[in-house]
Subunit: 425 residues, 2 copies
């Protein structure tokens, strides 16, 4: 293995000199096993290649954006074609109107759209729109839920001050009594209730949304005049071809979208109901690249594939096969897995593994077998995956479980995850 | 002229149904003359085409991003080539390291870089970094200065609440006494002083930075331990090939960049000195598309052109010709113009035109002659402009001044700018 990751090592050294901490944000491998590569060279379909030329079946899909696979030909061709015509200009192109029409045609609750770049842009606009609509301040959201990396919502708030997070009340996801208590605490100042489509917090089991919780959130908003916001940034179009909570019969007033909207091209959006239109028109929001035409051309192709293909049924079925196959192989090797969340956004945690030492060992063994899985963050399936890919992943898992079994008795605690055992969570 | 803007009209009607207010942000033509097109079809070099097929010499350059002209062949080829390899992946590519090395090699004060998407991302990270570094809260910035569209800094704060803007003290740009008073008011809580490279507020004359103001800002930061932030998002690489204040002999601790960094491809950055590295590494910042490789490939080409071509000397000379020529033609027609700011980011306002009725009429007449100018926001030159373009703009101006002279006696107030006369500014 000597020299096998020499290019990655060299880049890490250079990065340490010119990037704070060597890397930042969700794509830092600081909290992943040491053998995970930090730098990649290429992506195609369901696979990525690291800078040392190793290929992986990628169950992270760029943390969501790759819904139809990397370098999807029709989507990227639309991008490149539009780039030749015009991208960032002195005004928007017709594509912006077409895209807003396409989205409002697909997402039941949506009557309008505002396009932006980051998921955080969309969630922050939802906050501002709700405050402008209600002329109130307080936001209720779930403890531990990720709604972006702005000071008001970031989950590791170094450099954030108390006033950045004023007028927010946290409740427990899926806990109706906790939601009701938070709303009662907000009194006549409730501007919005934020909700993830399902509980997809890091490091813990995922949870499907409780229908009673979703309905109660809607009722409480209706009763108080506050706006209900569903944050689809991570889960959008992986659970349904509409807003996720439409499956529960609950329509939000606002929903934030991003990641897969243009299959990896930079685009996010806030969608809203007529009720919130005037407020949305009253806030000042903008960005240098928010009117870019090429990502909108890519999004129109992405949405066409969402509407016209059976991608959703296929990735749901593949996710089911993966889950059943993993379960079977874990049991055969004497392990017990907790697999949670929707099949297309799976997370598996080992029972009896509070400090994730088993999870880290298993993930490393999967990586060595050409499969990129994540030990503590939900994963993603994409439409470029095939039955053969799932079979390959399960073969890898069989080997990885066997390797874990051999190593399990001597596994050391994972130093970099010491904060988990320190009871911070 | 019947039907001449029929496609734009049709798109505006469709947009009104699916986009709040019909359009949002800095690319809305809501505060521009009625004949300004909202939607564009194409951009190439120094020109844009609206959706009704009319071509304009574009002095807005997408509000800054187009530094080397639209669809610049080498830059876009680099983008497309990288797109074929990998763009938004599960981790960054080597380009991220190369780009951080390139920028820290070019910008004197910078030892590290964090890449993001919006200019607002970079200014907000500057804020958070300064607060993490100092463990203090208060930010001093200039009244009316634009530092982005986040709740903490947006200039039209509908939907923003008091706590979003807590711990900020506003001073007057270029006024040393006002700066000193603000810093004194901050007491031992000063985290940062923010500054634009020059005063480029909308609706008013621009102003070069006073060297005494810049130096005093540096001294006050040194004395208090606060960080000095120069916000280069709008002016970056149009005044110098370094941070703008290096021309004044003043090096900031942090600088925010965006717009032209990748010539219109979506990329922004926070650059910082070693002093702030630890703080920058301690904050959590991220975005779905912040690791995109294709815009970084485009940025590397853009920076190469910045370093290796005489673009800056050429656009500065062209800006000088435009300024002198406009002045001459204005005087010949009996008008007096106030031209302010750097030649490459010009703004001209008519004397005796408090409600901008002359400016609106003149701009419309320029538009009718194929030249897109802005009546109240600074404009931008780009390296795709030629002597012939400036000559064409000056020919257009001659006709536009003559047309303005004929219409001037009967010009009505501009309804949509009534707020200017209301003394809001």
């Amino acid at each position: 293995m000597a020299g096998a990751n020499s290019r990655d090592r060299e880049l890490r050294e250079r990065a340490a000199a010119v990037i704070p901490g060597g890397m930042y944000g969700h794509q830092s491998v600081g909290l992943l096993p040491d053998d995970y590569p930090q730098f990649f060279e290429r992506g195609e379909g369901a696979h990525i290649w690291d800078v040392d030329g190793r290929r992986y079946l990628d169950f992270m899909c760029a943390y969501g954006p790759s819904l139809f696979g990397y370098a999807q030909p029709e989507i990227d061709a639309a991008y490149v074609r539009q780039l030749g015509l015009g991208d960032t200009l002195t005004g928007p192109t017709a594509l912006m109107v077409e895209l807003a029409e396409a989205l409002t045609g697909m997402v039941s609750h949506a009557d309008w759209a505002i396009f932006c770049k980051n998921g955080t842009d969309a969630t922050t606009m939802a906050l501002t729109t709700a405050r402008a609509h209600t002329r109130r301040r307080t936001v209720v959201r779930a403890k531990g839920a990720y709604h972006g990396a702005a000071p008001w919502c970031v989950t590791r708030p170094t450099g954030v001050i108390e006033s950045d997070r004023a007028h927010q009340i946290l409740c427990d996801y899926n806990d109706v009594a906790s939601l009701e208590a938070a709303v009662a605490e907000a009194g006549d100042d409730l501007a919005a209730i934020f909700a993830a489509p399902f509980k997809h917090d890091a490091f813990v089991d995922q949870a499907e949304p409780d229908i009673a919780y979703a309905r109660r959130a809607r009722e409480l908003c209706d009763r108080t005049g506050a706006l209900l916001v569903v944050d689809e940034v991570r889960a959008g179009f992986r659970l349904t071809r509409d807003c996720s909570w439409s499956r529960l019969g609950v329509q939000p007033d606002l929903s934030s979208w991003g990641k897969c909207l243009a299959n990896g091209h930079p685009l996010s959006a806030l969608l809203g109901a007529d009720k919130a239109r005037k407020a949305a028109a009253s806030i000042y929001v903008t960005g240098s690249f928010w009117y870019q035409a090429a990502p909108m051309a890519a999004a129109l192709q992405t949405l066409r594939l969402v509407r016209e293909t059976d991608y959703l049924e296929r990735i749901t079925a593949l996710g089911g096969e993966l889950r059943a196959g993993l379960d079977e192989r874990a049991k055969a090797a004497g392990f017990s897995l907790r697999q949670s969340g929707p099949e297309v956004m799976p997370l598996f945690l080992f029972d009896d593994d509070p400090d994730l030492r088993k999870g880290f060992c298993f993930s490393s063994e999967m990586l060595a077998r050409g499969v990129y899985v994540h030990p503590w963050h939900n994963m993603f399936l994409c439409a470029a995956m095939t039955e053969a890919d799932i079979a390959a992943a399960l073969d890898a898992a069989e080997g990885a479980f066997a390797a874990l079994k051999r190593q399990a008795p001597e596994l050391a605690p994972v130093d970099k995850l010491a904060f988990l055992s320190a009871g911070a969570r």
